[in-house]
């Protein structure tokens, strides 16, 4: 077991750059998720580390060892593929033990290690079956067992849950996360599913168009997105956005959009000009307005009762086509067509300048972490 490092790794196909100066250090035992829209270069980065693709530039380390030039087999990494890539002509046991038999270990050792790996994943009774006789979830477990049996330096996962149905995906997510913690093994996990990234990883790397947009803990990315891309990629329903303008008026920083004029905190470091105001759905609360809050009034457009919570879509008054979604506790009665006033704490606001970069609304040590909690009125 050891850490992993990408140093300035790039991958070019002809003139297009698929991975652009990718730099990442994964600590020993850490679980890092690579997430981003399809085609963002996350899978290519993983395959470069695995040795399945050659890097056009840069350096790869497994532990302290430079593996950039080594073939895949000598990198001591194990990988779970999206398709699981189980050998259909071999039984589960042969699939799991394949790498060990290629290493020339004796039969008794292989059988023993295969059995232990299978037991850990509760597939000990399925070892004699071939992949086609296994369900999707069981195949996925065989693929994971094939990884852990080798006791590799690190696990690489390439969208391992995307072929499972929603319910199974939930359980498998928990199991993989738990297994990773028990074994304490360094893990790099590629997914396009933000829920997987947020719930499983110690740190999340958000990629777009071959570049890293932000690296941080799930909460850092959620509460302190560095730009509009990160802000809108994470979170479901997505962050509400309002296009408008910042102006400075008699010592106050104000945000104005058609039909709207809101006072922003004085600490906002923003030059006058076009901006985008961002508000998470859960930041909109049924709270009386206060000096450290902004209030939005509108008419309820559509209501989705999810039980524990209710999603309320409303048209912001005065603003012609600004529709917002609020996530409020499920018990509150809301009807379509009714007027509604919701407010959001200043600490829950996000502001992005014309280039899409986040603007600091608060000084260091911001209370953003308290988003979602009730702020005493």
């Amino acid at each position: 077991m050891s850490g992993l490092s990408f140093n300035d790794v790039s991958k070019r196909f002809g003139t297009s750059t698929v991975v652009d100066r990718f730099t990442l250090d994964v600590a020993e035992g850490e679980f890092v998720a690579l997430v981003g829209p399809s085609g963002c270069g996350k899978t290519t980065s993983l395959r470069i580390l695995a040795g399945l693709e050659e890097a056009s530039a840069g350096q790869l380390l497994v532990g302290a060892r430079d593996v950039t030039e080594l073939p895949a087999r000598d990198r001591n990494l194990a990988m779970v593929f999206q398709s699981y890539a189980l050998y259909p002509h071999m039984t589960a046991a042969q699939n799991i033990g394949f790498a060990l038999s290629l290493q020339g270990l004796d039969k008794v050792t292989i059988t023993d290690r295969v059995q232990r790996a299978a037991d850990r994943l509760a597939i000990g009774h399925l070892l004699e079956r071939r992949p086609k006789e296994l369900s999707g979830g069981q195949r996925q477990r065989v693929a994971v067992a094939r990884c852990i049996v080798r006791e590799p330096a690190a696990f690489l996962f390439d969208e391992p849950l995307s072929n499972l149905d929603a319910k199974l995906r939930g359980t498998a997510r928990v199991e993989i996360a738990r297994l990773q913690k028990t074994l304490g093994i360094t893990t790099l996990y590629v997914t396009h599913d933000q829920v997987e990234a947020m719930t499983m990883a110690d740190r999340v790397v958000l990629m777009d168009a071959g570049r890293i947009r932000q690296i941080g803990t799930p909460m850092q990315l959620y509460h302190h997105p560095v730009d509009l891309f990160v802000a809108t990629f994470l979170g479901s329903p997505a962050m509400n956005l309002l296009a408008g303008e910042v102006r400075h008026d008699r010592g106050e920083v104000r945000f104005s959009a058609p039909g709207l004029d809101l006072r922003l905190p004085e600490t906002t470091h923003c030059a006058p000009g076009p901006v985008t105001l961002g508000l998470r759905p859960e930041a909109l609360e049924r709270m009386p307005t206060a000096p450290d809050r902004i209030a939005l009034t509108g008419v309820v457009d559509h209501v989705e009762h999810l039980g524990a919570e209710t999603l309320v879509q409303f048209a912001v008054q005065g603003s012609r086509d600004a529709s917002m979604t609020a996530r409020i506790p499920g018990g509150w009665p809301v009807r379509a067509g009714a007027p509604v006033t919701l407010s959001a704490a200043h600490v829950a606001l996000h502001l992005f300048d014309a280039t899409g970069s986040a603007v600091a609304l608060h000084f260091a040590g911001s209370a953003r972490a308290s988003v979602g909690q009730r702020v005493p009125a």
Binding site: P71, A72, R73, A99, L102
Partner: protein, 306 residues
């Protein structure tokens, strides 16, 4: 009472509907069924009946001879010799064209830009008429005029009269057979190769099977199981039917060493007009083909499909 009546009425109309559906179903299958009967089953039945007679082509009288044709056939030196020759021919052509077809498919598969060109070149022999090509091969291997003979002579290997040498004639015919089949087998193997998921090779790379031979033995070959089986069966049946080259080039010579099943059958039936014995041989031929097909369907098929 009314309820019972209603149920009775409902089930009556249900029955009528089922009958109508069944009738429609039969109406739809009938044309195909008639074609199968007329084109496939009836000729086999006719041949089967003929094989039990002493019918001569054009004769006005014939009589039942029972299984005499079959017992004669099993004691007939020429028939047994042609059967043996056919087996030798199949034993050379099947491994030759399957292995070469696979080899060519793997080599062609790895080309990117020139793939289509190579595919076309190797497939060309399949599209040619074997009768015409037999004439060309006959010339190429001609001991006095053929360019191949000039080549072997120039290389100091001496002259080969392939089609005149009793020990070489089957090999010569088999070479033509292989030449014609490689392209077809290549196409089938290419289809099989394309169907192997790339992920399996990636997994094999990571597991440590990354040499060319390891990849072939551990992934490609097992994954090609169903394709290989299909190729072997179709090739065997095609090879079993060897006729054109023999009829054009050797006519069973020298010394009957190139007599093959279909050629002997042709001679007995259409040169000697003995339809009875010829029909018996046809049935024997059909049985061999059937056995091969059944072997595919029942024995190996299940084990190689994943």
């Amino acid at each position: 009472m009314t309820v019972a009546l209603k149920i009775g009425r409902v089930s009556a109309s249900r029955n009528a509907q089922l009958r109508a559906e069944a009738a429609a179903g039969y109406a739809f299958v009938t044309p195909a069924l008639i074609l199968i009967m007329v084109l496939l089953i009836a000729p086999i039945v006719v041949v089967l009946l003929l094989s039990l007679t002493d019918y001569q082509l054009g004769a006005l009288e014939w009589s039942w001879v029972g299984l005499a044709n079959y017992s004669d056939m099993l004691g007939d030196r020429i028939f047994l010799r042609s059967l043996g020759n056919t087996f030798i021919y199949v034993a050379i052509v099947v491994p030759g064209s399957v292995v070469l077809g696979l080899l060519v498919a793997i080599l062609v598969q790895e080309r990117t830009k020139s793939k289509a060109i190579y595919q076309t070149i190797f497939f060309l022999p399949v599209t040619t008429t074997l009768i015409a090509m037999s004439v060309v091969w006959h010339f190429l291997l001609n001991p006095s005029l053929g360019p191949i003979t000039s080549l072997t002579r120039a290389l100091g290997l001496g002259e080969f009269d392939v089609f005149g040498d009793p020990d070489l004639v089957l090999v010569g015919l088999a070479v033509i057979g292989i030449w014609q089949l490689v392209g077809f087998n290549m196409i089938l193997f290419l289809a099989g190769l394309t169907a192997i998921p790339r992920d399996l090779y990636d997994a094999a790379d990571i597991d440590g099977a990354d040499g060319a031979w390891d990849r072939f033995a551990r992934v490609t070959w097992p994954m090609l199981g169903p394709t290989t089986l299909f190729v072997v069966v179709t090739t065997t049946i095609t090879a079993f039917r060897v006729f054109d080259t023999v009829a054009v080039i050797t006519r069973g010579n020298p010394q009957g060493r190139s007599d093959v099943l279909l050629y002997t059958l042709y001679k007995v039936g259409f040169q000697d007009f003995n339809m009875g014995p010829a029909s018996a041989m046809t049935i024997a031929f059909l049985v061999f083909v059937l056995v091969i097909a059944l072997a595919q369907a029942f024995l190996i098929d299940r084990r190689t499909h994943y």
